[in-house]
């Protein structure tokens, strides 16, 4: 169709002619997307924080003292074969003992060295790839041959996993709600735009323009509004995030290690998602209101 050019130009012209309406729509969509973005970054940070704690929640499997070297190595292989095990690190008893002794004062160190015997067993430090599977991994570890004892904290894992889930659900809900609100507002804005352009629409209908032809410039308008709002919102979320990071890090660091979540890592996704969301809300918002408008409004009488 050779008219795409004309129709698209019309869409841009609409934007210029209805400057105020366009600015209003962009502002509204921008605000909603910004809130979505902030909710998302908050979610990412909370998840990173939880992951940070989780990664420290390792399973220690101690090997029976009577196991020889080959049997100990076999334990390592068996552990690696368990599902959801991310890494298995061998902690040999000499190194572990040396580390422990370092913390003691010199007298005690000298005394222990005098005894010359290492009371520690060999051990494996196991990290779990999927924290929701923590307990099943623990159970599997317990069944491994030659494992003396397992040290773990299932309760913490359970709590963290539950926390992660609820944070995800709540954020998803908030994000969805905000999107619905944006769509509703966009659709209303377009409705107002259509009303303000009823003269042109009445002429178009009277000369036999097809509904799709009437609709297209409004769709273009909605899409442009979406793109602009999406890009602006990305920028705003970035600025707010960097600001929040710089002002809160020092305060929060007293509570524990702060995960280093860089916005730039998420920026392409956020920008992409925002523009797509913007385009879709713009398009759906406009198409639904246009369809209704075209159905209800007659062209012979113009409402004043």
């Amino acid at each position: 169709m050779g008219n795409i050019g004309y129709l698209t130009k019309e869409g841009f012209r609409n934007l210029k002619v209805n400057k105020l309406m366009s600015i209003a729509s962009i502002t509204v969509l921008f605000s909603c997307l910004m809130l979505v973005g902030i909710a998302f970054m908050l979610l990412v940070n909370i998840q990173a924080f939880i992951s940070g704690i989780e990664s420290e929640n390792v399973i220690m499997a101690y090997v029976k003292l009577e196991a020889n070297e080959i049997e100990t190595a076999l334990v390592g292989d068996e552990l690696k074969a368990i599902n959801y095990v991310e890494s298995v690190e061998f902690v040999d008893k000499e190194t572990a003992y040396a580390e422990i002794k370092e913390d003691f004062d010199e007298n005690l160190q000298a005394y222990l060295n005098g005894i010359g015997e290492n009371p520690l067993p060999d051990a494996y430090k196991i990290t779990v790839s999927d924290m929701s599977q923590f307990e099943s991994v623990v159970n599997s570890v317990k069944t491994v041959h030659n494992v003396l004892r397992v040290r773990e904290n299932s309760a913490l894992a359970r709590q963290l996993s539950g926390m992660r889930d609820s944070v995800t659900y709540i954020s998803a809900g908030v994000i969805l709600l905000l999107l619905i609100v944006s769509m509703f507002i966009i659709s209303n804005t377009i409705k107002v735009t259509m009303f303000s352009r009823r003269l042109e629409i009445s002429i178009m209908k009277s000369v036999g323009a097809t509904n799709s032809f009437i609709r297209w410039p409004f769709m273009v308008e909605g899409i442009i509004i979406g793109i602009i709002a999406g890009l602006l919102a990305t920028g705003a979320v970035w600025a707010i995030y960097e600001f929040a990071l710089s002002s809160f890090t020092s305060v929060l660091s007293t509570f524990g290690t702060i995960p280093d979540v860089q916005f730039i890592k998420y920026a392409p996704y956020i920008a992409g998602a925002f523009v797509i969301i913007g385009i879709f809300t713009g398009m759906f918002g406009s198409s639904s209101s246009i369809r209704k408008y075209l159905k209800e409004r007659k062209f012979v009488e113009l409402e004043k």
Binding site: M1, G2, N3, Y6, V17, L199, E200, S202, I203, M204, K205, S206, V207, G208, A209, T210, N211, F213, I214, K298, F299, V300, E301, L302
Partner: protein, 279 residues
């Protein structure tokens, strides 16, 4: 060309706008439709443009049965019509040229064709030197001529003019009807709704008079005179309709002996079709 067979229209709110109307308009006819407000004139027009569907009866326009027409066929049907409104409906932020071009652009006409067609229809309406003006810089009569040019832009077979002289001074009113007449002579069917009896009387054309949703008279001069008095009498009683002050349009009537045949109008349709027609 246009046929109303036993057409009635009752709106959802219960108003019976038209009851059992039978009208037949031939191709190339010029018809005035006269009536007081509430007589059913605008319903008549809306039915003809397929803006409304009759409650009963059938309407046929140019071979198409409007009752049975599918929604998606309406735009194509409307392209056969050139509609002129009382309030001109010109887009204020577009020039005269663009206003006329708009009607062509929105049905997907190529820009090349528009650049040739628009100056032509503007010249027919005597608006060549106004192409770059904006509507608000023009008089009411000129604005209505722009609207008429727009109605002609897509080479309509039927011109439907809804009170085209309603917002125009008497001399311009006469000129507009005169332009419609000339279009009619070039072969276009013209239907003009008006309540200005004195204007109607200047032209010896068919007059359909509507009153309270029925056709009370349909025909030439004699019937028209009778019907006009009928309406005038009716309006005095109901006081709904004030007969406009009688304008003496005879002053504007051209002497047929000196009038020049307008060759532009004759070739109007051909010029457009020479481009390869629509689509």
């Amino acid at each position: 060309m246009i046929e109303f067979n036993n057409v009635s229209k009752r709106y959802d709110n219960g108003t019976e706008a038209l009851s059992d109307i039978n009208i037949k308009i031939e191709k190339g006819e010029f018809v005035f439709v006269v009536g007081s407000s509430g007589a059913g004139k605008s319903t008549f027009l809306k039915l003809m443009m397929r803006e409304e569907v009759p409650s009963s009866g059938t309407i046929v326009v140019d071979g198409a049965v409007l009752n049975k027409m599918k929604k998606r066929e309406i735009p194509k049907f409307r392209r056969k019509l050139g509609i002129v409104f009382q309030d001109f409906r010109l887009i204020p932020n577009m020039t005269v040229f663009d206003n006329v071009a708009f009607a062509m652009r929105v049905i997907g006409t190529k820009e090349k064709k528009i650049r040739r067609r628009v100056p032509f229809v503007l010249s027919l309406m005597g608006l060549n030197d106004k192409a770059r003006n904006f509507p608000q810089e023009l008089s009411g009569g000129e604005q209505q001529r722009v609207a008429l040019a727009r109605a002609l832009a897509n080479n309509a077979e039927i011109i439907i003019a809804d009170e085209p002289t309603g917002n125009v001074d008497p001399q311009m009113s006469y000129e507009i009807v005169d332009l419609l007449m000339r279009l009619n002579e070039a072969g276009t069917t013209v239907i003009m709704v008006t309540h200005e009896h004195s204007l109607v009387r200047c032209f010896d054309k068919r007059v359909i008079i509507l009153d309270k949703g029925s056709v009370v008279a349909d025909g030439g001069t004699l019937i028209r005179e009778a019907a006009t008095s009928h309406i005038n009498a009716a309006s005095e009683i109901t006081n709904e309709y004030v007969v406009p002050p009688e304008e003496d349009y005879s002053a504007y009537v051209e002497d047929p002996a000196t009038a020049q045949p307008d060759s532009d109008f004759i070739m109007m349709g051909e010029e457009f079709n020479a481009d390869g027609g629509e689509e």
